[in-house]
C-alpha cells in the first residue's frame, strides 16, 4: 500500500446514503407572499388593461379605484417582503448563479427530448440559475419600474404645475405601461414553467403546500429531524 493509496482512501468520501424526503422548502410567509402577489398582479393587469381601453368590463372610475388600491397593497407587500428577505437571509437565493446556459438549453431544447433537468433543487438552493436571474430582474428592474412610475403618477398633483409636467406624464405613462407588458410576459412564461415539473401540477402543488421532495444526506436528514428547523414529512 503506497502512501498514495492510503491518501486516496482517506480522501474519498464514503458513499453517502441519500434520503428523499418531503421537506417544506417554501415557508408559510413565502407562500403568502407569492399568492397574494400573484392575485394583486392579476388584479392590476386586468384593471390596467381596462384603463388602457383593451376591455370595458370595468367602468373607468372602478378601474382607477381598483388599480390604485391594488397597487398600494402590492407596494406594502413588497416592503414587508424585502424586510423578510433580508432578515431571513433568503435574499441570497436571488444572487447570480453559475450554470445558466445549461438551464436555458434545457428549456429550449432538452425538455422536448426528455433530458433530465440540469439542476437539482436543494434546501439551500431552491432556484436554478435562470430562475434566480429572472426573479432578480423582476425585483430590481421590472418591479421598481412599475411602482416608481406608479407612485410618480399617483402624485401628479405635486408636480403638475411645472412646465415639464406634460412630457413627464407621457414618459411616466410609457414606462409604466411598457413595464406592465414585460411583467405580463414574465407571468405567462412563469405559469408555463410551472407546468414543466414531474406532472403538470407538481410545481403548483409545491407552491401551495410548500412541500417538495428533496434529496437529503443522512446528516441533513438527521439534523432536520432533530432540530425541526424545517418541517419535514
Amino acid at each position: 500500500m503506497t502512501d498514495e493509496t492510503v491518501l486516496t482512501q482517506y480522501l474519498e468520501p464514503e458513499p453517502q446514503r441519500v434520503f428523499k424526503r418531503d421537506v417544506m422548502i417554501y415557508s408559510r410567509y413565502e407562500r403568502f407572499w407569492h399568492w397574494s402577489q400573484a392575485a394583486l398582479i392579476f388584479t392590476l393587469f386586468f384593471s390596467g388593461l381596462g384603463l388602457h381601453g383593451a376591455h370595458g368590463l370595468l367602468s373607468f372610475r372602478m378601474a382607477v379605484t381598483v388599480h390604485s388600491f391594488a397597487a398600494i397593497a402590492l407596494i406594502v407587500l413588497w416592503v414587508f417582503t424585502t424586510f423578510w428577505n433580508f432578515t431571513t437571509g433568503q435574499w441570497k437565493q436571488y444572487l447570480f448563479k453559475k450554470g445558466i446556459w445549461p438551464v436555458i438549453r434545457f428549456y429550449a431544447w432538452g425538455i422536448l427530448k426528455g433530458e433530465p433537468h440540469p439542476y437539482k433543487k436543494s434546501l439551500q438552493r431552491k432556484q436554478n440559475a435562470l430562475q434566480s436571474l429572472a426573479y432578480m430582474s423582476f425585483m430590481v428592474i421590472v418591479g421598481p419600474a412599475l411602482w416608481s412610475t406608479g407612485i410618480v403618477y399617483l402624485l401628479y398633483d405635486l408636480w403638475s404645475h411645472y412646465s415639464w409636467a406634460g412630457d413627464a406624464l407621457t414618459i411616466t405613462a410609457f414606462v409604466h405601461t411598457a413595464a406592465a407588458f414585460v411583467m405580463a410576459a414574465f407571468v405567462i412564461i412563469h405559469v408555463y414553467m410551472t407546468t414543466t415539473g414531474k406532472t403538470v401540477f407538481h410545481y403548483i402543488r409545491t407552491m401551495i403546500t410548500g412541500y417538495d421532495k428533496i434529496e437529503l444526506s443522512e446528516v441533513e436528514e438527521a439534523y432536520l429531524a432533530q432540530t425541526k428547523m424545517v418541517p419535514m414529512k
Binding site: L51, G53, G56, R61, F69, Y156, D157, H161, S163, G166
Partner: protein, 547 residues
C-alpha cells in the same frame, strides 16, 4: 317676452323672405305665400313655460313710485323716469360693452366688439343697425349717427322688465316688404312694464343672447329658449325647480359692467373662490367651486382634481351641445342665398328639432343652413371640438388680410398650446360658413343687408351692390371682386354645467373634421372619462394638440 315674440317673429320673418322679391303692391300673391308658409310649419311650436317667479330681495316696490305711474308714450320716457332715481345708472351703463359694442383688446391691439367684427352668421351688424340694433339696449339707432351720449337712448326695460310682454322691433322699417314684420303684436303697456322692473332674469338676457344669429339657439348651441325653464338634466344651475339661477348669479356685475366677456377670457382661474364675497371680477366655475372641486377625501376626487390644471371644467361637464331640444346652426352657405320661386324669395323648413319645432333649412335672404343638436331620441349628437386655449381670442377683422389658399379662414380663432401653463383643453362649438370676401384685397367684407334703399341685399339679392355699399359706407377699401370663402370661426365657449354628462360621450361618432385639424381628442377624452384609456388619451393629446 321672448316666447311672445318668437313664434310671431319666425312666421313674420318667413313671410318677409317670400315678400322680398316682390315689388310693393302685389299683396294678393303675398297673402297666398304667407298661408303657404304657415301650412308647412307645425301647428304651434312648443312654448317654454314661464319659470316660477323668484322671490325678490328688493327693498323697493317699483309699482308704488310716482315716477313710474306714467303715462309713457315710449321707452325713452320710461328711461327718463328710471334715471330720476337711478341717477348714476345711465353713466355706468354707457361704459358697458352692452352699450358701446366696442372692445379694445390690450394684448393683441385689436378693436373688437359687435360694432366692428365680421362674424359668420349674418356677417356684420355694422351698417345694418336698422335691424341688428334690435339687440342693442337702446332706442333710436336708426342710422350711423346714433347718439351714444344721450341717456334717453338707453333701453332699461329689455334687461329689467319682468312682465314678459315687452318686446323690441328693428329700429327701422327695412325693405318696404318688411313693414308687416311685427304686425299683430299687442302694443306695449309702458306703465305696466315700467313698474315690473327687477334684476335681469334668464328671459331678459335671452332676448338677445338666445337669439343671436337670427333665431333661437342659432349661434351658441346651448344658449337658447330651453334655458328659460330648464329641467335639472339640462342645466344643474338654472333648473327652475332646482337652484333656478339667473345668468347674473355667475355673470356678476359691478355698476352695470358684467363679467364673463368673450373677448377677455380667464381660461385658467387659479385664484379660486377668493375671500368671501370679494370676487366679482370673473364668471369662472372656480370662483364658486374653487380650484379643487372634486372630493379631496376620495381617490377618484383627488385624481379628478389632478385634471384641473390641463382640462377646463366645461370639457368634462359639457360633453355635448344643444341638448335642450333647440338645434344650433353648424353650417351656413351664403352662396345659396338669393334663389327665387315665381319671382319671390322663399324659405324651407326641413329640419325638425328635438322639441318638435321646424327650423329653416333655406331662406332666400341668407342661404342654406345645417343644424346640429344632441337629442338621443332622434339619434342626434353634437359634440364639442376640443383644443388648447389660453384665453386669448384672435380675430380676423375687416382690416386683416388672409391667404385665401389657406381656407378655411378662422374668423375668431384663439391661441393656446400643450406646453403653455396658462392653457387648458376647452370645448368649442365650431361654426362653418361659406360667405363672401373681397377677392382683390383678401379681406372679409361688410355687407349692406338691411335698409329701405335699393342696395340692401335683403331686397335685391345682389351681393355685389350690398358689399360695395357696405364697404363704402364704413370707409373700407373694396376691390369690387367678390368671392365666397370658407371662413371658420372657432370659439363659442360653453359655460353651462350639465348633469348626466358622461353617458353621451362614450358612444358617439366622430364629428366632422374637414378643414380643421383632425382633433380626435373627443374620442380620447370620452374614452378616458367613461370607459377607456388614459394612455390613448395621452397619445391623442400629444399627437393632435401639440402639432
Amino acid at each position: 317676452m321672448l316666447f311672445n315674440l318668437l313664434p310671431r317673429a319666425s312666421i313674420a320673418i318667413a313671410a318677409m323672405v317670400s315678400l322680398l322679391a316682390f315689388p310693393p303692391g302685389t299683396t294678393s300673391i303675398l297673402a297666398g305665400e304667407l298661408q303657404g308658409e304657415q301650412g308647412e310649419a307645425p301647428p304651434q311650436p312648443v312654448k317654454p313655460e314661464h319659470p316660477p317667479a323668484r322671490s325678490t330681495n328688493s327693498t323697493a316696490d317699483h309699482s308704488k313710485f310716482d315716477a313710474l305711474k306714467g303715462p309713457f308714450a315710449n321707452g325713452s320716457e320710461v328711461t327718463k323716469a328710471c334715471l330720476t332715481c337711478h341717477n348714476e345708472a345711465g353713466h355706468q351703463f354707457m361704459k358697458s360693452i352692452h352699450w358701446t359694442l366696442e372692445y379694445k383688446n390690450q394684448k393683441t391691439g385689436q378693436t373688437l366688439g359687435k360694432h366692428n367684427l365680421v362674424n359668420n352668421f349674418c356677417t356684420n351688424a355694422r351698417g345694418n343697425e336698422g335691424m341688428c340694433a334690435m339687440c342693442h339696449a337702446s332706442y333710436n339707432w336708426t342710422s350711423a349717427n346714433f347718439d351714444f351720449k344721450n341717456q334717453q337712448n338707453i333701453d332699461c326695460l329689455v334687461c329689467h322688465e319682468q312682465t314678459g310682454t315687452y318686446y323690441k322691433v328693428p329700429p327701422t322699417r327695412g325693405n318696404a316688404a318688411c313693414s308687416i314684420m311685427f304686425e299683430g303684436l299687442q302694443p306695449i303697456d309702458w306703465m305696466k312694464v315700467a313698474q315690473s322692473v327687477g334684476r335681469p332674469e334668464r328671459a331678459n338676457c335671452g332676448t338677445c343672447h338666445f337669439n343671436g344669429g337670427g333665431g333661437d339657439g342659432v349661434k351658441h348651441g346651448d344658449l337658447d329658449s330651453s334655458l328659460i325653464n330648464p329641467p335639472r338634466e339640462l342645466d344643474v344651475h338654472m333648473a327652475s325647480k332646482g337652484l333656478n339661477f339667473a345668468c347674473s348669479q355667475c355673470h356678476l356685475s359691478k355698476q352695470h359692467i358684467i363679467t364673463g366677456s368673450r373677448y377677455d377670457i380667464n381660461a385658467k382661474d387659479t385664484e379660486g373662490t377668493g375671500k368671501p364675497g370679494l370676487r366679482r371680477d370673473v364668471a369662472t366655475c372656480e370662483s364658486c367651486h374653487g380650484g379643487a372641486p372634486h372630493p379631496k377625501t376620495e381617490l377618484i376626487g383627488i385624481k379628478l382634481n389632478g385634471h384641473i390644471n390641463k382640462v377646463a371644467c366645461q370639457t368634462c361637464h359639457i360633453p355635448a351641445l344643444a341638448r335642450g331640444g333647440v338645434a344650433t346652426i353648424v353650417d351656413w352657405d351664403w352662396r345659396e342665398a338669393g334663389k327665387v320661386k315665381d319671382g319671390a324669395g322663399f324659405s324651407e323648413e326641413n329640419y325638425v328639432q328635438g322639441n318638435g319645432e321646424h327650423r329653416h333649412t333655406y331662406r332666400s335672404i341668407k342661404g342654406s343652413f345645417t343644424y346640429g343638436e344632441t337629442w338621443p331620441a332622434k339619434g342626434r349628437t353634437l359634440l364639442p371640438y376640443y383644443a388648447w386655449f389660453d384665453g386669448q381670442m384672435r380675430y380676423t377683422t375687416i382690416d386683416n388680410k388672409f391667404d385665401p389658399a389657406k381656407q378655411p379662414i378662422p374668423i375668431n380663432a384663439f391661441s393656446g398650446s400643450y406646453d403653455d401653463p396658462k392653457s387648458r383643453i376647452w370645448p368649442f362649438k365650431r361654426m362653418h360658413t361659406v360667405q363672401p370676401y373681397d377677392k382683390g384685397n383678401n379681406t372679409l367684407v361688410y355687407m349692406h343687408l338691411w335698409g329701405e334703399d335699393k342696395d340692401a341685399y335683403w331686397g335685391n339679392y345682389d351681393f355685389g351692390r350690398a358689399i360695395e355699399v357696405g364697404m363704402k359706407e364704413n370707409g373700407k377699401p373694396y376691390s369690387s371682386n367678390t368671392a365666397s370663402s370658407k371662413p371658420i370661426p372657432i370659439g363659442r365657449r360653453r359655460t353651462w354645467l350639465l348633469r348626466k354628462s358622461r353617458r353621451s360621450l362614450a358612444a358617439n361618432a366622430m364629428p366632422r373634421t374637414d378643414g380643421w385639424r383632425p382633433l380626435r381628442v373627443s374620442t380620447c377624452l370620452g374614452a378616458t372619462i367613461s370607459n377607456g384609456s388614459i394612455w390613448l388619451a395621452i397619445c391623442c393629446l400629444q399627437a393632435h394638440l401639440r402639432a
